[in-house]
């Protein structure tokens, strides 16, 4: 250590504690008062350009009658767009269909995801585990446009694989996508196929957050399987699982590509979710005014979702803070 003392003594700045202030723009940006703003600025800029401006635009336009194909300038119409949307029974049907879709899709995916997640939990010694999990997660990464179109073929009563199986069992072919009573379920099944792996992923992540010691303790305490699940796994994994459910809820609410390519919202209106009808009204009918109003309504619903999401999150933070 003598060497270090000498080396230290040789540095000239040792007379005073201060090394002297740094100067320059970088130093200024690095100052504690400035830094957070600098760091958040890029996201803020993105946010203002791609979110605030369009949202204000949307809000403004929702009070106008404006059709892109009419060749006429927008006409102020007050709340007309809103009242006519809310008075239109099809809006309510589409919305309720969407909610049913969300509840069923997310519900089934969650239950299946939890069960499969538990099944895959002890799979460390599975030969080819990484390949198996990759295959399991594959549906998530298929382009929805392609998945939708191809499922149309798989479901096809004449050419489809699925109906071939059904027919070889001696049963009549099922008109999966063209029977108004079946189509909704068929579309739902594809969503379940596509997104259950995501819930499995979340469940595995949730299971990873459970401390091993507590599980061992639970085993020693001879808790039943269900008690262990409820008291230990759910207690620790709840947060991540909840996140998964909420992310899925959000995405299910937005479902469009997948269904659009399978049924175009039909037959009739059997699979017409709100995102599809909004797309139709905006980019098939080019009714920008009333579409904006519908978009505003959906924005409000989205905000309600978001608020729920955050409430759940902060509930957890508050609990940990209390503990």
């Amino acid at each position: 250590m003598a060497g270090s003392a000498e080396a230290a003594a040789s540095t000239s700045s040792r007379r005073t504690l201060a090394r002297g202030p740094r100067r320059g723009l970088l130093a200024f940006l690095g100052r504690r008062e400035v830094l957070p703003t600098v760091l958040i600025a890029p996201v803020l800029i993105f946010f203002i350009i791609w979110n605030t401006i369009p949202t204000l635009w949307l809000l403004g336009l929702s009070f106008y009658r404006f059709s892109l194909t009419s060749g006429r300038p927008p006409i102020y119409s007050g709340f007309y767009n809103f009242t006519s949307i809310l008075n239109d029974s099809s809006t309510w049907f589409d919305l309720s269909r969407t909610f049913i879709f969300v509840v069923l899709a997310v519900g089934i995916e969650t239950i299946a995801g939890v069960l499969l997640g538990l099944l895959f939990w002890g799979s460390e010694r599975l030969p080819g585990r990484r390949v198996a999990l990759t295959l399991l997660f594959a549906p998530m990464v298929v382009t929805p446009v392609a998945a939708g179109t191809f499922w149309r073929l798989i479901y096809d009563p004449t050419f489809g694989v699925l109906n071939w199986f059904i027919r070889s069992l001696g049963l009549p072919a099922v008109r999966f996508l063209s029977d108004a009573n079946v189509a909704f379920g068929a579309v739902l099944a594809v969503d379940v196929w596509m997104w259950t792996p995501f819930m499995v992923l979340m469940m595995l992540a949730a299971l990873a957050s459970v401390p091993k010691a507590e599980l061992e303790a639970a085993e020693i305490d001879r808790l039943t399987w269900f008690q262990r699940f409820r008291l230990v796994i759910l207690y620790h994994g709840k947060f991540i699982l909840m996140l998964g459910i909420l992310l899925r809820t959000i995405d299910a609410f937005k479902t469009m590509d997948l269904i659009f390519d399978m049924t175009f919202g039909g037959p009739g209106t059997a699979t017409q979710l709100i995102a599809i009808s909004l797309f139709r009204s905006a980019f098939e009918s080019f009714n920008m005014g009333s579409s904006s109003a519908l978009a505003v309504v959906l924005l409000l619903i989205s905000i309600a979702f978001t608020a729920t999401f955050l409430y759940v999150l902060y509930l957890r933070e508050r609990r940990t803070a209390d503990a």
Partner: protein, 276 residues
């Protein structure tokens, strides 16, 4: 039943589940080696003489190369921009907790919750008004915007898990904030960064609607090519659809394979940092 038999059965069950989920994807991939009548054959063909003609046709297509390039460039650039920007913001949110943190995080998330067709509408009008439609930069930045909320959320979770003592150690020793962010914090939240990159990559990679509406000839990606190119002579071009889909899902599937660990860790939003 012996322990070994039980384990083998258990493993067989796991593989069965994986294969069931994979089956439709497999069916698409299998179809890509068939001729058009073979794809529609009843009963379905499981054994046949595979043809590579579909791929030969696809890969020789200049349009494929163009669209594929767009897909790669858009997703990679957008995701890199988004994660870089989100990382800085997440760091600020986590470390300095500025007054509006919660509100901003809330707003960011609400963008993600808006159905695509609602989000695209004003953006489309804005792009028309500003002349940004079908511009590569406009498209990239838009995708970046859409990737930001999720990235900020994941990364903030991870950065929250990194003790501020590390920053302080850096600060005391004279490191600049830039160095603290890039050399001390970034390597520690690497799984989160990878998870954010992959999830957003998959989103942009498969994105159709926005590309279709605010893109154009210069910027259209493979999903748009899939949607517009799938009809041929009034019919659906199944060979085209299956071969293009198969080629197109390879990159994300390889990512899932190679970065599986990070995906799992990433989805814990920073609550778990080790192996999953």
């Amino acid at each position: 039943m012996s322990e070994r038999v039980r384990e083998s059965l258990y493993h067989a069950l796991l593989w069965l589940v994986s294969l069931i989920f994979f089956a439709p994807v497999f069916w698409i991939a299998l179809s890509s080696f068939k001729t058009a009548p073979q794809i529609l054959a009843v009963p379905p063909l499981l054994f046949f003489r595979p043809t590579l003609a579909n791929y030969a046709r696809l890969l020789a297509e200049p349009a494929f190369q163009h669209h594929f390039f767009n897909s790669v460039a858009l997703s990679v650039l957008a995701v890199l921009v988004a994660v870089a920007v989100s990382f800085l913001a997440a760091f600020a949110f986590s470390r300095f907790r500025p007054a509006a943190t919660n509100f901003l995080m809330f707003l960011l998330l609400s963008i993600r919750m808006l159905p695509g067709s609602a989000a695209i509408l004003p953006v489309y009008l804005m792009y028309v008004a500003f002349g940004w439609k079908d511009s590569f930069v406009g498209m990239t930045l838009f995708y970046a915007m859409f990737s930001i909320p999720f990235s900020v959320w994941i990364l903030k979770g991870f950065i929250d898990g990194v003790s501020p003592r590390f920053d302080e150690t850096g600060l005391v020793n004279g490191a600049s904030w830039f160095s603290i962010i890039t050399r001390l914090t970034l390597p520690q939240v690497f799984p989160g960064v990878v998870a954010a990159l992959i999830f957003n990559f998959i989103f942009v990679w498969n994105e159709f609607l926005f590309n279709y509406i605010i893109g154009g000839i210069n910027t259209s990606n493979i999903p748009v090519m899939l949607a517009t190119g799938l009809s041929n002579g009034g019919g659906i071009d199944w060979t085209f659809l299956s071969s293009l889909t198969t080629v197109y899902i390879l990159p994300p599937i390889l990512m899932v394979y190679f970065f599986q660990r990070y995906l799992l860790v990433g989805m814990t939003f920073g609550t778990v940092r080790g192996e999953v």
